[in-house]
């Protein structure tokens, strides 16, 4: 959880950092651009300043020209001196106007300029006056004016003002220059920031790329390692391994396959996997199986099936094949692991042979020993003296015990290997109890215990193996006898609750010891080896009993008995004595149906659903009892019951239910039947709806007659 959070945080930080870098670069770019703009403004200012200083110096030299030109003309009266004066006259106005424009907005400069303009005007007026006087021949006036130094003063004033203005401009230039220095600093700073930012970005990119590359390399390494491992597993597996495509064709195989089947790799590649199977029927099975594993996806992984495989030399051998789907990408592939189980099969056959031999080889001498002892103990060869009789008795009993032990061990082996055969007969439990009680009668008598089973005319049937069920009950009964004190009673009681039949064997023994309860149904379980009464047991009986009961869908267990002792019980699913229509309603007429075919009973009852309450019976006995207990409105009777004829019921049911309509539903078509009943339907010719229709019609007729 915290790992995930920190990972998420790191991711967020990385994204923010990567977004900040271009943003700051953009900011830097805008900053640099604005600094360059400022620089451009400064440069134009500098240019203006230089221009205006040029103009100032031009104005000064203009005035010097005017002064020199006029003075030369006054002194020499040579008109050629006047040329600069004539040129300067318009030029002076232009320059003053231009300088004025240059200096707009600066109060101090404007003030100086005004003064300069006045000085310039005065100097020009003086020059003009000198020129006019000289031209009109008043040379002396001009000369005296010159000598008065007025012109020189005006000239000085111009020089002073120009110098002041020039200083001002120089100052401005200096200021602009220093501002430009600052600007350069800014640009330098921004540029270095830009470089730093770019470097940072480059570094970040380098780190990210490096990291990604490393991770990719690691992933690649891992994938390669995994592939190598899988490859090694595939190549080195003891089991034969096939890589199959969706169609079941072999795409790859391992050396074990070559060893197992004797084919070369090239002989098998692109062949269908059934090429390796022995029987042509296996082909269909394989295809069906493969598609089922494919459909099941990962759930079907590792499903096993046994195949008979065929080698190149034509010999066949048993295999167990497990198929797993390996990719759920675009292409579906399967790995089939083929195991040679011929050794296992051989071992199993050997074990069976061994068990069979042991059972035979042990029983043969035991037959002789037991037979001899039996004859001796039975008095077949004359009376033995007391001690001899006792010894023979001990030997005989232990011989019998050995036989039981062998039988139990064989039973356990058969159950655990799933080879115990169970018949599927209808077993009447009351009869089973009677037989068991009789069989154990002499043992009970020898132990001074009375075996009691209450008389019951109740018939409870289960589906199963009568001999095996008798084995279970015998085990419980003989245990109860063994653990009962002399003079005590052992009750064997049959019960039924719902669909469950139960036989209880109740004793008045000491109960099951606490420490034994955990393992009472385990193998070779005996409460106390030194317990005399336990002699003759094998410790396998209850384990076998429970296994057998569980094979019948039931169970064997025990409860403590009130007042001391134990109740051991067998529970088995009962064949329901009476199949009754589920929607039984008191308002509907009750119809008796007897047929030895349980399926027929069941479907007929359903066919009458909502029309009549059908009570169904599969035996004459049950039906007879029901006739005594209930009244009926009608009867459907099967003629060809297994042992008896259903028609024999008719007189009795009619006697108890006068006027009751009887429908014979028979497999045979016989003339005499018509006389015995109100209607006859033949099973092969009539369907159920006809049965229902006929019975309902008969019931309605009877109703109107009444």
């Amino acid at each position: 959880m915290s790992l995930m959070t920190s990972q998420t945080q790191r991711k967020t930080i990385t994204i923010v950092a990567l977004a900040l870098v271009p943003a700051s670069l953009l900011g830097l770019h805008l900053g640099v651009q604005s600094e360059f703009e400022k620089g451009r403004v400064l440069r134009s200012t500098v240019e203006e300043t230089i221009l205006s200083r040029d103009r100032l110096s031009a104005l000064l030299s203009l005035h010097l020209d005017i002064e020199t030109s006029v003075r030369g003309y006054v002194l020499t009266d040579d008109e050629s001196f006047l040329r600069p004066f004539l040129v300067a006259t318009p030029r002076r106005n232009e320059l003053i106007a231009a300088i004025k424009t240059d200096l707009t907005g600066e109060p101090q400069a404007r003030l100086l300029m005004d003064r300069l303009e006045q000085s310039s005007d005065r100097q020009f007026q003086l020059a003009l006056s000198n020129y006019s006087d000289a031209r009109q021949g008043r040379q002396s006036q001009s000369e005296s004016r010159i000598a008065s130094g007025e012109g020189r003063r005006a000239m000085d004033a111009i020089r002073r003002d120009i110098a002041a203005l020039d200083r001002l401009e120089r100052g401005r230039l200096a200021e602009v220059t220093s501002r430009s220095e600052g600007l350069r600093g800014n640009i330098e700073f921004l540029a270095s920031m830009l470089i730093a930012g770019l470097s940072l970005l480059l570094a970040a990119v380098a780190i990210v790329v490096g990291k990604t590359t490393r991770q990719r390399q690691e992933a690649l390494d891992r994938a390669q390692e995994l592939t190598a491992r899988q490859q090694a597993m595939f190549e080195g597996a003891v089991d034969g391994m096939l890589l199959l495509d969706e169609a079941g064709d072999i795409r790859k195989l391992n050396p074990s396959i070559i060893r197992m089947f004797g084919y070369s790799e090239n002989e098998l590649l692109a062949r269908h996997n059934t090429f390796l199977m022995d029987q042509p029927t296996d082909l269909e099975l394989s295809r069906a199986w493969l598609s089922r594993v494919g459909a099941a996806g990962l759930e079907g992984a590792g499903e096993r099936l046994e195949f008979t495989a065929r080698r190149k030399d034509g010999t066949s051998f048993d295999t167990e094949v497990a198929v797993s789907r390996v990719s759920d990408g675009r292409e579906r592939r399967y790995i089939a692991a083929i195991r040679d189980i011929s050794e296992y099969k051989r071992a199993e056959a050997m074990k069976n042979e061994f068990v069979s031999t042991v059972s035979h080889e042990l029983r043969t001498p035991l037959t002789s020993i037991g037979g001899s002892l039996g004859l001796l103990a039975g008095g077949a060869v004359g009376e033995l003296n007391e001690k001899a009789a006792r010894l023979v008795d001990i030997a005989h009993k232990n011989c019998e015990r050995l036989v039981r032990l062998i039988n139990d061990i064989l039973d356990i082996e058969k159950i655990s290997s799933g080879k115990m055969h169970f018949a599927q007969d209808e077993v009447d439990l009351a009869g089973l109890i009677q037989r068991t009680v009789v069989a154990n009668g002499s043992f009970a008598a020898a132990q001074g215990v009375s075996l009691v089973t209450p008389d019951t005319d109740r018939r409870v049937e289960v589906l199963g193996d009568p001999d095996r069920l008798e084995q279970v009950l015998t085990n419980l009964v003989s245990n109860a006898i063994k653990h009962s004190p002399r003079g005590a009673k052992v009750d064997v009681v049959l019960q039924q609750s719902g669909s469950s039949a139960r036989i209880e064997v109740r004793d008045r023994g000491d109960g099951v010891p606490q420490e034994f309860r955990q393992r009472i149904f385990g193998k070779f379980a005996m409460a106390d080896g030194s317990d005399n009464r336990m002699r003759g047991g094998t410790g396998l009986g209850l384990s076998i009993a429970r296994e057998i009961a569980q094979h019948h869908g039931g169970n064997v267990s025990y409860d403590d008995r009130e007042g001391g002792g134990t109740v051991f019980w067998i529970e088995l699913p009962a064949i329901s004595e009476m199949v009754q229509c589920s929607s039984a309603s008191a308002d509907l007429p009750r119809v008796l149906h007897i047929d030895d075919d349980r399926d027929c009973l069941s479907v007929t009852a359903s066919a009458f659903d909502g029309l009549a309450n059908v009570l169904s019976f599969s035996t004459m006995e049950d039906a007879e009892r029901a006739i005594h207990e209930h009244s009926f409105a009608g009867a459907i009777i099967d003629v060809g019951m297994r042992e008896e004829d259903g028609t024999t019921l008719i007189p009795e049911i009619r006697q108890r239910n006068p006027g009751l309509p009887v429908l014979l539903f028979s497999a045979r078509d016989e003339d005499h039947l018509a006389a015995a009943a109100d209607a006859v339907l033949i099973k092969s010719r009539s369907d159920l709806s006809e049965v229902v229709e006929t019975m309902m019609r008969l019931l309605a007729e009877r109703e109107t007659q009444a």
Partner: protein, 121 residues
């Protein structure tokens, strides 16, 4: 007298069986140690019932039964198997070979004769 033929390769068991069957005074018992001997005896004697051991060297009990069925005079002799192998599948096979019964070894010598009487009924 009821003629009973008992066939078993084990001499001890033959002896015990003879004594056990001898408990019924109405039985006349003859013993055979092999299928061949059994056939020789049966052909001249024609028993009322034959008790055959299942596992015998050379010719086993079920094969002996087939051989008896192939001989006209022995075709209808009731046969019961006496076996130390009580595998249910084998018991079923015996039933299919129209044996009248199967007696499991070790048998109770005191009741063997009455068991055979019941099979004869």
């Amino acid at each position: 007298m009821t003629r009973v033929l008992y066939v078993d390769d084990e001499p001890d068991i033959r002896e015990i069986a003879e004594m056990a069957l001898g408990l019924d005074p109405g039985f006349e018992v003859r013993l055979a140690a092999s299928a061949r001997e059994a056939l020789t005896i049966a052909e001249g004697w024609c028993p009322d019932i034959a008790l055959l051991d299942v596992m015998m060297p050379e010719i086993d009990g079920p094969t002996l039964l087939k051989m008896m069925r192939e001989r006209q005079e022995l075709a209808n002799v009731p046969v019961a198997f006496v076996t130390a192998r009580a595998q249910p599948s084998e018991l079923q096979n015996f039933a299919m070979l129209d044996a009248v019964g199967v007696i499991a070894k070790p048998f109770d010598p005191m009741t063997l004769a009455s068991t055979v009487r019941k099979l004869l009924e």
